[in-house]
Each structure stands twice: as structure tokens, then as C-alpha cells.
């Protein structure tokens, strides 16, 4: 039940209406690994870091079963750095700084030991590199999930369209689903995207939850209504990590099991936003996670016996 996670490992500076941090570990593959490691280990990580990525942060991840063989360490450059500021509604943010640093040289080389991994999570990143990782795999994984964003639709659409033909599950947010398909209706957007390759489409709607589409089937997962969203950074990556982690743990790629996996991802994301960066993800226990998932049951459960 091995899982490959591909994506950035970074440092972030984040400002929200509730506080500010100048330096915290981040990146799609960090959030995804923290979330997934609750369900499956080892995690075969594929990423690149600079000299400033601390041994302590690497050790934290290794203690959670994250295999660093596929993580390139660059001695003379800094790690990818992102800085952003959130507005009051937490749904919009301004990017203040994007320093690619080592990410500009990222050309993932899959270690031999990663061959045969059954599950693949391609975190948001350059579509050509996502394709490269898939091409290096000698066997097609049992399930390949790709996360992407509008930036790649604007700048690398041909590569992205190619990548879509190679994957099973696409994760995008609602505006990205609309942009990719040219359809306003999310039902129609999901149908059109399925024709591009992925047989499963997950549309993330932040505080409004997530939708899973497969053929004529639809599943709607709520987001947990929270008193405060402290820092939404990484919530989408955490959702992805919880989703693929649960799938890899159960080794069940049915639509029914994906529904539960989406609830697991939603629960993990609801922890992520409680503190800065992945802080909260490092703290939570199995009991916390199980309790949160039970909250989701109460949240959507209703008596179906009509009177």
C-alpha cells in the first residue's frame, strides 16, 4: 500500500486577519504528507528543498514515515518561498512574494525503490513534471490523483490536457473546473472534464465543501462549519493528502470508498485551518481524527423515513 506524493516543500510567510508568521514550513507535498501519514506509511516523497530546509523539519516528516529518498537537497539555493496575505473573508488572498528558488530547477527523478507504488498523488505543480513522474513509473498505479490550478490552465494548457489523459482523479476548485471546461454548471463541467481523461472529478468549494463526480453519480461532502478559520493555507493539499491516504490505506478505489475518503480529506482540512501552516496537523491524534469524522456523520445525517 505504498503511496508516492509529488509536490513542493517550501517555506511560507502568512498574514491573516488573526495573525502573522514570517517563516513556517509549507508546500503542497508537506501538507499532503502530514495528512496522508495518518493512514498510510511509508510515503514515497518526491520534491526538492534548499539548504534552508531544516533537519528538524525533515526529521519530523521522517518520523511519520515520509521517505526522503526522492527529495533532492540543493546545497547552494533556498527552498521555494511563498508569502501571502488573506482578506477578512479568507476566500481571497494576495500573493506578496513567490521566490521559486530550487523549484526552478525541479526535474523529479524517481528512485528505483519507488517503482511499484500503488498510489500516486501529484500535488499542484508544473504539468510537464507531473507527466514526467508518470512516465518514469514502469507500472501504472492503482489510482493516480492530480491537483492543479488556474495558473497552469493559463500557461501550460497543452501539457495539462496531456496529463489529464494519464490520471484517474482530477482535483480542482469550482472556478478552475469552470475555466477548464468552459461550462458554468459544475455538473456539466464535471462531465466535460471526464471526457478529457479522469473518470473521477473532485471539485473543491472551500467552506462550501466538495463534490465528487463519476459518470452519472454525484456525492456532496460538507465542510465543517467553523467558528474561525485561522489560516486556510494548505487546506486543499491537506484534503488531497487525507483523500489519497485513506484510499491507499484501504486499497479500495470504488466510488463508495472515495466518498468516505472525501470525508476523511474534509476532516483533515478542517484541522489544518485551525492554526498556522501545518502546525495543527502535527499535533492531532488518531482519536482527534476519528472524533472529527464522527462530527461529519452528525453534520449530514438525517432521518430518511418520510412520514
Amino acid at each position: 500500500m505504498s503511496l508516492i506524493i509529488v509536490g513542493s516543500m517550501a517555506h511560507d510567510a502568512i498574514e491573516t486577519p488573526f495573525g502573522k508568521t514570517d517563516w513556517i514550513v509549507g508546500g503542497a507535498a508537506v501538507y499532503a504528507a502530514y495528512a496522508a501519514s495518518n493512514f498510510v506509511q511509508p510515503i514515497n516523497q518526491v520534491s526538492i528543498v534548499g539548504y534552508d530546509f531544516t533537519d528538524e523539519e525533515l526529521a519530523d516528516l521522517e518520523r511519520r514515515g515520509v521517505n526522503m529518498e526522492g527529495v533532492k537537497k540543493v546545497a547552494d539555493k533556498k527552498s521555494f518561498f511563498w508569502s501571502g496575505k488573506y482578506h477578512m473573508d479568507m476566500n481571497s488572498r494576495d500573493t506578496l512574494v513567490t521566490d521559486l528558488n530550487v523549484l526552478a530547477d525541479f526535474d523529479p527523478v524517481l528512485p528505483d525503490s519507488y517503482q511499484g507504488s500503488e498510489f500516486l498523488m501529484l500535488g499542484n505543480g508544473v504539468p510537464a513534471l507531473q507527466i514526467s513522474v508518470m512516465k518514469q513509473l514502469k507500472e501504472r498505479p492503482k489510482l493516480s490523483v492530480l491537483d492543479t490550478m488556474n495558473f497552469w490552465m493559463d500557461t501550460a494548457l497543452d501539457d495539462l490536457r496531456h496529463a489529464l489523459t494519464m490520471i484517474d482523479v482530477l482535483m480542482v476548485n469550482d472556478s478552475e473546473a469552470r475555466q477548464l471546461s468552459g461550462q458554468y454548471s459544475l455538473v456539466k463541467a464535471a462531465k466535460d472534464i471526464q471526457k478529457m481523461g479522469p473518470k473521477y472529478v473532485i471539485i473543491k468549494k472551500g467552506e462550501h465543501g466538495a463534490l465528487l463526480f463519476h459518470g452519472d453519480k454525484v456525492f456532496v461532502a460538507p465542510a465543517l462549519p467553523l467558528e474561525d478559520v485561522f489560516d486556510p493555507t494548505g487546506a486543499g493539499d491537506t484534503f488531497a493528502g487525507g483523500f489519497i491516504g485513506y484510499i491507499a490505506h484501504t486499497r479500495d478505489v470504488s466510488f463508495e470508498n472515495m466518498k468516505t475518503a472525501i470525508i476523511v480529506g474534509s476532516a483533515m482540512a478542517s484541522f489544518c485551518v485551525e492554526k498556522f501552516g501545518p502546525t495543527r496537523l502535527k499535533e492531532i491524534s488518531k482519536e482527534d481524527i476519528d472524533g472529527r469524522i464522527r462530527q461529519f456523520v452528525d453534520l449530514v445525517n438525517f432521518d430518511i423515513e418520510l412520514r
Copy 2:
């Protein structure tokens, strides 16, 4: 199990990206009555209409058990008229015309035969008139539900605050909940609103579903993902009518039953948007409704046995 519905009975002219109608019956109390009448009859309607409200439209409603004794007919004025145009996203609309006509003189007088009604739905309207209806009732209903909008928060906040002290359930949309409470977080907004009077707060989020808050309890209902929303006019009033209709039918005002009632309301609203005005609401059968509610079960149901 008698139900009073108070609100406008109107004519609308509607333009959406999918079509245009110059003249169709509408108004909060019309949509609510069509929805509720599937679950409870008679419905004790309180409204006002002009000479142009056709006998055919009144007869359509009467055939569904809508009692017109509390509906004042004005011989020399037209019915309330609203005209609006929806944008592509269907979430925003421009109001083109608002002719109050008879609604300017609306001073509801409750017929004696309506006394003792167990359930009360106060459709969106002037808060002072909503108070007047409540004051005319000799016995407090088993459940009073009030729908309102930002316009009344801007123009009649004191009356609205007074009305809130007299009701059990408030229905508003997300931006209205934020405006009324001054809280961005909907969880905090719902808590603050409960302190203003209503022990139950329903927050409508259109295509993103609805939330029910009561003390520390929360329920999230999805909206049915639709290929096309043909005309959203009246969806909120239809939701309200389905909700109170099911509550009145079951005579059960528990939180658990309200959850089911919200799903019933959501199902009714999902029909409403399929055609112009209340057209679709007039067509659907008990079987259609039961089938739609079963779709909601499939939509949110997931396997809770974590492996």
C-alpha cells in the same frame, strides 16, 4: 395541523440566460403555498391581490387546499409586480421594476377561522406586518418561522429585531446572516442571532445548500447539483414552504425532524428552479417528490465504518 402562510402574491416578469417571461404568477406566499400543500392542507393564506390576479390562478391554489379567506382582493389596483433579470451565474440579479401596487396598502387582518393554527410561516415582507399577524394570534403557534432580507435590515431594523423576539426559526441567506449579526463566521453569526430570539437559525446558501443551527448543534444540507438552473425565482420561498409544510404535516418540531424538513425544502427548491416561476411546482407528483428526496440520501450518504 393547520398552517398559516403570510406573504406576497404577485406577478413577475423574469429574464434569465435561458429565456424570458413577461407575466407569470409569483410572490413569496404563492411559492410557499405550492410547496407546503404537498404535505399539509388546508393552508390558511394571508395576502393581498389586485384585480389582475386571475380567477384561474386563485382556483389553482384553492384546488391545493389554499384557503383564501385571509386574502384581500382589491378591485381598483393591480397586484404587486416585480421584474428582474438574472446574470449568467444565477446568483446575482438586477431588479428592473418593483411596483408595490396593492402591497402598499397591505394591512393583514387575520380571519377568526385562522385562530388556533398550529404553524406559522411569515414570508419575506415588512417586519411591522409580520409582527401584526403574530399579535393577532390569540395563541402562540407551535412553531413560527420568519423569512426576511437585507432590505428590511437596512430600512426597518428595529421592527425586525422586535419580530425576532417573537419567532422560533429565522431563515436568511449567508450575507444577510452576516449583516444582521456583524459576524463574518456563520457559526458565530448563528449564535448571535439565537441571542436575538429565534432558537433555530437556517442559513440559505443557494447552490451551496443550507445550514441549520440550534445551540451547539449544526446540520448541513446540500443543494442538488443541477445541470441547469433555469430560473431561481422563488427557490427560497419554495424551500421555506417545503420546510414548514413537512413540519406541519409531522407536527414534530424537534431538531432531528427539522433536519428532514430542510431536506424536503431543498428537494422542493430543486424542482422550483427547473422552469419559470412556480410552473414546475404545479406539475410534480408525490412520486416525483419522494424520488427527489431519495436522491438527497444518495447525495450525502457515506460509509461511516472507518477501516
